[in-house]
């Protein structure tokens, strides 16, 4: 939350401090601030007019629109340390591709947290397979897949596991400054997942590859190609249930190829007290 001080005006900061630790902050032109806390949305009485919104946006972009354009056309701005601002607005489309956003009208700042021990279920499962099996963690958006990955990375890189972990952090959302001291961690920050996976396997000889939110064709191809290298992958994907997850064409492709040995569904127990796990082993699904 301290990081937000660099981006938000003082009056907005003091307003949101009343709510304690929040998960998301939604800011829209000429609209009220919306806060997400403990899985519910709170519409505040604090409004942001055009000038305040532009000021916040300028700070989020660090006065460097040109540097962030690659992220802007993908719909987000990476703020470092796991913070990410999703953006929406008027797209400029050329030849079917978004080349610019001419009028950004909404920003959704996601605030990351490190919750120790939250990946316990996944660690135990990986250990039971001697760290040889790839797993796919799924849940609807906002449950905490990325939070789980952060804890997982820290645990795997340390005693007693000491695994060489390559993290493909395409959107710069996973990495947190507390991971800087992890000797066994190799970080691919901002790499497209397919490129990061290929390079990690070729150059860094990881024991495990970790990446967030897989599902497009190029990522699927890279993961299928990785199978022959035999390096397990821990990845996440959006899905409300295992059935819904496997209905997605690319996930289905990977399932038919036997990439993932287990699909682990997570859901929140209650605020700050870990997850419920649902283990769906591939053999059991078949």
């Amino acid at each position: 939350m301290k990081k937000l001080e660099a981006y938000l005006p003082l009056d907005i900061l003091s307003h949101i401090r009343h709510y304690g630790n929040i998960n998301e902050l939604r800011i829209k032109r000429n609209s009220a601030l919306v806060i997400k806390k403990d899985n519910r949305f709170i519409i505040t009485d604090c409004k942001t007019d055009d000038s305040v919104f532009d000021e916040i946006l300028d700070r989020l972009l660090e006065h460097s629109y040109h540097s962030k354009l690659g992220q802007i056309v993908e719909g987000y701005i990476s703020l470092g340390d796991g913070y990410r601002a999703g953006i929406a607005g008027q797209a400029v489309v050329q030849n079917g591709a978004v080349t610019n956003i001419s009028e950004i009208s909404s920003v959704n700042i996601r605030i990351p947290y490190l919750i120790k021990g939250v990946s316990e279920g996944v660690v135990l499962h990986l250990r039971s397979t001697d760290f040889r099996e790839s797993v796919l963690v799924y849940s609807p958006p906002g449950v905490g897949k990325t939070t789980l990955l952060r804890d997982l990375i820290i645990r795997l890189c340390r005693e007693p596991y000491n695994k060489r972990v390559s993290v493909i952090d395409s959107r710069c959302e996973i990495y947190h400054s507390s991971m800087a001291c992890l000797d066994m961690l190799d970080l691919y920050l901002g790499y497209p997942k397919q490129k990061g996976i290929e390079q990690a396997i070729r150059s860094m000889a990881p024991d495990i590859i970790i990446c967030d939110e897989i599902g497009n064709d190029a990522e699927t191809d890279a993961i299928l190609a990785n199978q022959s290298a035999g390096i397990p992958i821990v990845a996440t994907a959006h899905g409300s249930s295992c059935k819904a997850l496997l209905r997605r064409s690319n996930i289905n492709r990977m399932d038919r190829a036997g990439v993932f040995g287990c699909y682990i569904g997570i859901s929140r127990k209650s605020a700050g007290s870990g997850y419920n796990y649902e283990f769906n082993k591939r053999n059991d699904i078949e």
Binding site: L61, E62, S64, Y65, H66, S67, L69, G70
Partner: protein, 158 residues
């Protein structure tokens, strides 16, 4: 005799001071004109550097400014917020160009910003050409004036 010697000495001192003052004023005016042109050239160098950083590397704005070192710009408070307002080398047109440059810096895509840099550089180059022509004309005028004033002082006092 002593009084006459003292008066003659004072006259010569007055002549020397007068001529020195005229030379100093002429030199200061020339130096100001030269420093003004050097300052504008330094600004162009900075904007050219900024343009390259944005065009080829998409370097963030803060890093561009932090990485650029120039003694002329630093000594003139160029990177201070109020530096442009109080800068003695900038006239209204120069100030307007630079305000436009800084107001657009980091606010759009690299293509738009490089185009803006080119526009500002062209504007500043036009100003430099004007200042050089102006300085040339003034130099001739001031040189002649210095000579005439010096001669007048000599005639009056000797």
């Amino acid at each position: 005799m002593n009084l006459i010697s003292a008066m003659t000495l004072n006259k010569y001192i007055a002549i020397a001071i007068g001529i020195s003052a005229v030379i100093y004023i002429s030199y200061s005016i020339r130096k100001y004109a030269r420093d003004k042109i050097l300052f504008h050239c330094a600004v162009i160098d900075f904007i050219t550097y900024t343009r390259q950083q944005i065009a080829f590397f998409c370097t963030p704005t803060a890093r561009i400014i932090a990485s650029y070192k120039d003694p002329i710009l630093s000594s003139n408070g160029f990177f201070d917020k109020k530096g442009l307002e109080n800068n003695r080398y900038l006239d209204q047109r120069g100030r307007k160009l630079l305000e436009e440059f800084f107001s657009r810096l980091g606010k759009s895509s690299s293509e738009e910003q490089t185009a803006n840099c080119d526009y500002i550089i062209a504007g500043l180059n036009t100003l430099i050409d004007e200042y050089k022509n102006d300085a040339e004309k003034k130099y001739k005028a001031y040189s002649s004036l210095t000579l005439i004033l010096g001669l007048m002082l000599l005639i009056l006092l000797v």
